[in-house]
């Protein structure tokens, strides 16, 4: 299966800017479906970015994060060609992991 995670990590020499876009419904548990039944909550709880064996950014998310979430941050260091590992876990225990090359 194709990864749910799309990442662009760009090094400017001193810092690396990371943008990530993840495919996920991020159901809040407050929205009803066409039949009027509540759609149960289904959202990513934790999103982790690791570089060189250390986490450089951790997002704790609630259901108020938009569908197909987007996040952007920067960290010091990070060399072109190095790996950045991204993984998420949702409230149903599903997860996904990918590795991106810093550009």
């Amino acid at each position: 299966m194709a990864s749910t995670i799309r990442v662009r990590a760009t090094s400017s020499g001193e810092t690396t800017e990371v943008q990530a876009l993840i495919q996920h419904p991020m159901d809040s548990g407050y929205v009803k479906d066409a039949k009027g039944d509540l759609i149960p909550p289904h959202f990513i709880q934790e999103l982790t970015f690791e570089y060189d064996g250390k986490s450089v950014f951790v997002a704790d998310w609630g259901p108020a994060v938009s569908k197909d979430p987007y996040v952007k941050f920067s960290f010091k260091g990070g060399k072109k060609g190095d790996d950045l590992k991204i993984s998420w876990v949702d409230n149903k225990g599903a997860s996904d992991t990918t590795t991106a090359k810093i550009q």
Binding site: S28, D60, P63, K72
Partner: protein
């Protein structure tokens, strides 16, 4: 499959071994995850009001600071996707949290900022209606905040 008399204890041992392995695996997963990151703040996300969520998350209150920069639109046409970014000029930032006051649960997102990561984050949040967005920056063990009202024309709760 035949089970001779002496086969019974062997299979029992196998089952016990299996159970032990599962228990070990289960236990080792939990603490390992917790050691890398602090735990997911389940309770803070369950709080209804912004004040309760901040208290649950940090155990203290924040002071308003102009060193916290909150970027949010004046008017969000679509409450389901409101671009919000937070940055800070404070030193030693360890976390950034974003709350939407009148959402069913105020806390929307909380970001852990390890040393070496810049105190700046951009994301997209859902907003139920026109309300205040609050940015909390934890720096040097203290809390600083900034807030801004965002007008929402179509709520993000789909109702």
């Amino acid at each position: 499959m035949t089970i001779p008399l002496d086969g019974f204890p062997a299979s029992r041992r196998l089952i016990l071994k299996g159970a032990g392995a599962v228990a070990l695996f289960g236990f080792s997963l939990g603490p390992a995850l917790a050691a890398v990151n602090d735990k997911y703040p389940e309770d803070a996300f369950k709080q209804k009001s912004d004040a309760d969520a901040i208290k649950s998350l940090y155990g203290k209150t924040a002071e308003v600071s102009d060193k916290v920069k909150l970027d949010a639109p004046e008017i969000a046409e679509n409450g389901a996707v409101v671009p919000i970014s937070v940055s800070s000029t404070l030193a030693d930032v360890t976390s950034i949290s974003i709350l939407v006051s009148e959402n069913p649960n105020a806390l929307a997102a909380s970001y852990r900022i390890p040393a070496g990561t810049l105190p700046s984050v951009a994301n997209r949040l859902k907003m139920a209606k026109t309300t205040n967005v609050i940015a909390i920056v934890e720096a040097g063990g203290k809390l600083y905040s900034a807030s801004k009202e965002v007008k929402v024309t179509v709520g993000g709760c789909g109702g």
